[in-house]
């Protein structure tokens, strides 16, 4: 060993390790120190991540960087550090208690293959809080919370990690002479590596269950567990895989063109427009293009939508406001225009339609049976339009009819939005729908 090398990665600055006499944790910490001495990393490039539990008292005894977080969450901080800085060596020390409260993180780090090293100190119970049972307490094991024997079956941590897809998994005990080498191997893996270490809690589990070295190995045998490598199947580490996937599938981010005023309008006050139909009828996207058309006509506009969480089923309602002034309140308490194109839309908005004021114009498909309303009703033969331009363009046609009939802004502004923001093929269909909508007005019938 030359003078530039570290003879230890531990410091005695804050005193000796705080563990009970004979506790396996001290063996694990010293083995980790030897593993680091073997690998000789720059201490500022190593982070030891711990959480709550006796093993979590250890990070401050190292001369490396240290991150001591919430109970059971050390894997998440370790992943954050590693994702942010893939060049760091990130080693997480966790107890069997943390595997209970944070079990989902164990499954997911294994599955994702984020390149941290996870060392689990498994002593079959919670030492720090007084010897309660954990997810690895053997069946019939006596703990402070299972005084008559544990009725639960223990979790196989290695088996769980292997099943979750971990790239590298090793089962060890504190009695293994090769523990430093095993840890050094784990740390040297590019992807996720886990070492589960069986050990004795001399304060609680060992005296209560007469669990000594021999009984520990008997316990392993009784489960049919072997000490040694459980999985060694390297695959690209998460950050590498993430970049590869992104590079292979990326689309170049392009800015949409800004919307500039090109047309005039006749809107003199804040005007509320509601369009109601069925999910799958392109209500929301047609409404957005309509609103963008309004911006091309120099208006301010807002849009909010109401639709069920499912797709292609049930209602879809869009509320659009257009105004020559800044729009403050975005609710529509009294709509000026209402477009109703399907039964689903009617069902959802029936109460609103019944309350429409005389000043409102309701454009409704001619087949719908409308409730009583004070609104002026314009009936549109939308089924016919659907046959002509496709049922996905009915909403666009109905909104074009509204523009033609009301004259609030020119349909050409609607077309401008369609041309600007839709692919040429879809735009062509929708511009035909706008034409059909304009023609509809001459075929419409007005009531009231």
């Amino acid at each position: 060993m030359n003078a530039n090398q570290f003879a230890t990665y531990m410091t005695d600055k804050i005193g000796p390790l705080p563990y009970c006499p004979g506790c396996g944790h001290a063996t694990i910490i010293k083995a980790l120190d030897k593993a680091l001495v073997k690998l000789q990393p720059d201490p500022t490039k190593v982070v030891i991540v711990t959480d709550i539990g006796c093993i979590g008292l250890s990070d401050r005894y190292f001369i490396t960087s240290a991150f001591h977080g919430l109970h059971g969450r050390s894997i998440t901080y370790a992943c954050g550090l590693k994702l942010a800085r893939p060049d760091l060596t990130v080693i997480t020390l966790m107890g069997d208690g943390a595997c209970g409260i944070g079990g989902t993180h164990l499954l997911n780090v294994a599955r994702r293959n984020i390149g941290i090293t996870l060392i689990i100190a498994n002593n079959f119970n919670y030492g720090m809080t007084g010897g309660q049972h954990s997810v690895t307490t053997p069946t019939d094991g006596i703990t402070s919370t299972t005084p008559w024997g544990n009725p639960e079956a223990p979790m196989d941590l290695c088996g769980t990690a292997v099943a979750a897809g971990a790239a590298w998994v090793y089962r060890a005990t504190t009695f293994d002479k090769n523990l430093p080498d095993v840890m050094a191997d784990a740390i040297s893996q590019d992807g996720f590596a886990m070492v589960e270490i069986w050990e004795l809690c001399t304060a609680y589990y060992m005296p209560r269950n007469k669990l000594g070295k021999k009984e520990l190995f008997d316990l392993l045998d009784s489960y049919g567990f072997k000490v040694g490598l459980q999985a060694d199947r390297p695959r690209p580490e998460y950050s590498v895989r993430y970049r590869q996937a992104y590079e292979a599938g990326k689309s170049v981010l392009k800015k949409k063109p800004p919307i500039e005023k090109k047309f005039d309008n006749t809107v003199r006050k804040q005007t509320g427009i509601i369009i109601a139909g069925s999910a799958g009828q392109k209500i929301r996207s047609s409404a957005t293009l309509f609103a963008e058309g309004a911006i091309f006509a120099g208006l301010n506009t807002t849009q909010k939508d109401d639709y069920p969480i499912t797709v292609q089923t049930g209602h879809s309602v869009a509320e659009i406001i257009v105004s020559p002034e800044t729009i403050e309140y975005t609710g529509i308490d009294s709509p000026d225009y209402f477009v109703l194109i399907s039964e689903d839309g009617l069902k959802r908005t029936r109460a609103k339609i019944q309350k429409l004021p005389e000043t409102c114009t309701l454009y409704a498909d001619e087949t719908l049976e409308l409730p009583e309303t004070k609104a002026r009703v314009v009936r549109l033969p939308l089924e016919e339009v659907g046959k002509k331009v496709g049922k996905l363009s009915v909403a666009t046609a109905a909104l074009a009819a509204l523009l033609e009939e009301s004259g609030i802004f020119p349909a050409e502004a609607f077309n401008e939005a369609i041309r600007s923001f839709q692919s040429p093929k879809i735009a062509e269909t929708n511009i035909k729908a706008v034409e059909a909508g304009i023609e509809l007005v001459s075929k419409s019938s007005t009531v009231g």
Binding site: T76, A84, I295, K304
Partner: protein, 381 residues
């Protein structure tokens, strides 16, 4: 990679404006778990961040997402996460950790009707006090509340500056009504201040103390994990070196520091919009999307000859007490409209002189508080 995330006049929702504001602030790490009505922020960030060389990851749950964010932030990334009320519940313990470790992080809460699952697709602002008292210990955080798509963009950018400058979690409090409502907006026209980066320790320091301060209100310089120093971070009560301590004097000194660095900067953090009328007897104090209903109500009342002043709060936490107190001077009545059952009303009542009547216009039924309701229930007519 885009140099700039604005493009003149466009039609975008609040959630997208938040994502753009974050990108403008050079956010390069984002983790969150899908939840309505915040999910589209995850989608937008997925579109923007990897393209700019950063990383977006969807955690297995909200707890993991916050854990990833805290780790990444301490390794030098500029970090954003977004969720809604139920997710904030799961963030709670980690928010405490972020306060304890003095972690710069921006957290967006696109609020929805609660409690519990409530109405996932409906708006409310029931998390106002929850944001302030979100974690064990009750130490201060910063929270900003945008009213428009433009402000969602601007305040998110400013939230990054505050997070970096004060090493603290900063919340953006919005709700479904702003998050997923599209508006015509020109983000390009919004002038942003220069970007603030966290103060990093010089490279030649003999002994790095992660929480070093001379005066309690000082913000400690950071050495990022992996940045050349041995860095330390801990959830436990600790000293300036981030070593666990049980010394009551040291613990109190640290607690005083966490409070002082936020409260000492209150003038810098205070963002309010004033529209005062000389001789006004009524003052409306509002925030977020409801300040827009208030604006319509005030315009209407003024058109009928009433004299009414308006104070719109963009900073909710820490409470901009000076601005609120000075706005209340001389008025007889203060009206506080909210999309909750009177949460900020508590703060206004606390600050109001005894002879000033404070009235809430409160509702939480998923609907916006309307201008008419403010006019009628606030007695503005």
């Amino acid at each position: 990679m885009l140099e700039d995330y604005t493009m003149g006049y466009e039609f975008i929702e609040g959630n997208e404006a938040i994502a753009r504001g974050a990108m403008q602030a050079k956010c390069d790490f984002f983790a969150s778990y899908p939840i309505t009505p915040a999910s589209s922020i995850l989608h937008y960030m997925n579109e923007f961040v990897p393209e700019a060389g950063g990383l977006v990851i969807q955690g297995e749950d909200e707890i993991a997402s916050m854990g990833f964010c805290i780790g990444a932030a301490m390794a030098g990334r500029k970090v954003l996460t977004s969720t809604s009320g139920p997710g904030i519940s799961l963030y709670s313990e980690n928010i405490g950790l972020a306060i304890m470790g003095e972690t710069p992080i921006v957290i967006v809460n696109v609020q929805r009707q609660g409690p519990a699952t409530g109405s996932a697709t409906k708006g409310a602002e029931g998390d106002i006090q929850f944001t302030r008292w979100v974690t064990s210990g009750g130490l201060p955080i910063i929270a900003l509340s945008p009213a428009t798509v433009g402000e969602a963009y601007e305040l998110t950018y400013l939230a990054f500056n505050f997070a970096e400058q004060y090493r603290t979690p900063v919340f953006i409090l919005t709700n479904k009504e702003l998050g997923v409502t599209k508006e015509s907006a020109d983000l390009e026209s919004i002038k942003l201040p220069p970007l603030v980066e966290r103060k990093r320790v010089p490279s030649d320091l003999a002994d790095y103390l992660p929480h070093f301060f001379e005066c309690p209100e000082d913000v400690p310089a950071i050495a990022d994990f992996g940045g050349g120093y041995v860095a330390r971070y801990t959830t436990s009560t600790h000293d300036k070196a981030a070593y666990l301590t049980t010394n009551p004097n040291v613990i109190q000194e640290m607690i005083d520091h966490y409070i002082a660095k936020i409260e000492g900067a209150i003038d810098d953090i205070t963002l309010v919009k004033k529209d005062f009328q000389p001789g006004a007897e009524i003052l409306v104090i509002s925030y977020g999307i409801i300040s827009r209903s208030a604006a319509v109500a005030i315009r209407e009342a003024r058109s009928k000859g009433r004299k009414i002043s308006s104070l719109v709060l963009q900073t909710l936490w820490p409470v901009p007490e000076k601005a609120i107190k000075s706005a209340m001077a001389g008025v007889k009545k203060v009206v506080v409209p909210e999309m909750n059952m009177g949460q900020y009303l508590v703060e206004i009542r606390r600050l109001a002189p005894p002879d000033v009547e404070v009235v809430g216009v409160s509702k939480m039924n998923t609907m916006l508080v309307s201008p008419q309701e403010i006019l009628e229930q606030g007695g503005l007519l």
